[in-house]
């Protein structure tokens, strides 16, 4: 009995370790997560299956991130009807500065607070900005680290929209 328990514990530990160290790369299914946004509404990544998701890790202290956000907000407005859903994950240590920034510069997509655990799920968010483009089947189709060419990102995104403009 105790031997069986040891095996179960070892297997559980292995699963935990594997989960914690899985690197997330293009072609992988995006790890699922569920968090409340800043207004308390639930945000569950799996609920966006069928949409093209731009998952953007950012922080208030990251100047290139702040530069991207107004554009992302415009994309949400312009391409939302064609199946785009942008989700922002703030990696700030504290929610106060996030709320202050968004009060001044609101965006048209949900923002949730991230942490080391969520970062680890995505292979480690060890530098910002970092964005993942996730297709309608939940698969990662592009990864953008650092200051990206936003025109190229938009072109890729338009190409992958689930519903093309008539």
């Amino acid at each position: 009995m105790s031997k069986s328990l040891c095996w179960i514990a070892a297997a559980a530990l292995l699963v935990l370790l594997c989960g914690a160290t899985t690197a997330t790369k293009v072609g992988d299914v995006a790890p699922d997560f569920a968090r409340a946004d800043l207004a308390g509404r639930p945000v569950h990544l799996a609920d966006y299956r069928g949409k093209l998701v731009l998952l953007n890790f950012w922080a208030t202290w990251c100047a290139p991130c702040r530069k991207e956000m107004p554009l992302f907000s415009m994309w949400q407005r312009d391409y939302g009807a064609q199946g785009l859903q942008i989700v922002g994950v703030s990696m700030d240590d504290d929610v106060t500065s996030v709320k202050q920034l968004l009060a001044q510069r609101p965006v048209q997509y949900p923002i949730v607070m991230g942490d080391a655990k969520l970062g680890a799920q995505f292979g480690g968010v060890l530098g910002l900005p970092l964005s993942f483009l996730i297709d309608a089947q939940g698969r990662i189709v592009a990864r953008y680290q650092g200051e990206s060419d936003l025109a190229r990102m938009e072109a890729k995104l338009k190409e992958l929209l689930p519903r093309q403009r008539q």
Partner: protein
């Protein structure tokens, strides 16, 4: 006769702009002007490959290594043996840094690093460097991380860990 009126109007406009800016900075500290990382003298920069090699070497004395960026980043991955002492862009973070080094001799070799974002955008490193020099430390080096800690350190296979809370020896 028009000149004084224009000047008065300009003064009012300027005062209003300054007031708005002060209000914005007070409400949102990240907008405050931060000294760019490029202001750190090149002679005080250390390249990742060189630093990783020195960490491997048993003949090179180990400096005190401090991560002066953000806690969420440190918790995910950091250089083994490094302590968290930030963030450098906030007065509270600089106080953590001051407290961490307060009992140390001024000639202590210290290496600080961040890697939160591209070097040109790092809000922490120059402030932390200035703070340490202001406190009288004379052997401060800055790890030059061009893009971010993941790309320039972890992905290169240099030593990194998630463990923390083990380095409480404040004599170094």
């Amino acid at each position: 006769m028009m000149q004084p009126a224009i000047t008065l109007q300009s003064c009012k406009l300027f005062s209003a702009s300054v007031a708005v800016w002060i209000l914005m900075v007070a409400m949102y500290p990240a907008l405050a002007e931060t000294r760019p990382a490029a202001s750190v003298p090149p002679a005080d920069l250390i390249q990742p490959a060189d630093f990783a090699a020195s960490l491997k070497s048993s003949s090179v004395p180990k400096p005190l290594i401090l991560q002066v960026g953000f806690r969420t980043m440190y918790d995910q991955s950091h250089i083994p043996g490094s302590d968290y002492a930030g963030p450098g862009n906030m007065p509270a973070g600089l106080q953590v840094l001051s407290d961490r080094v307060s009992a140390l001799p001024k000639e202590t070799a210290i290496v600080i690093y961040c890697g939160c974002c591209p070097w040109s955008s790092c809000p922490n490193i120059a402030a932390a460097y200035d703070k340490l020099y202001g406190l009288g430390f004379t052997k401060v080096k800055v790890l030059y991380i061009a893009d971010n800690f993941g790309t320039d350190w972890v992905d290169k296979g240099y030593p990194a860990t998630k463990d923390h809370g083990l380095h409480t020896d404040t004599s170094r």
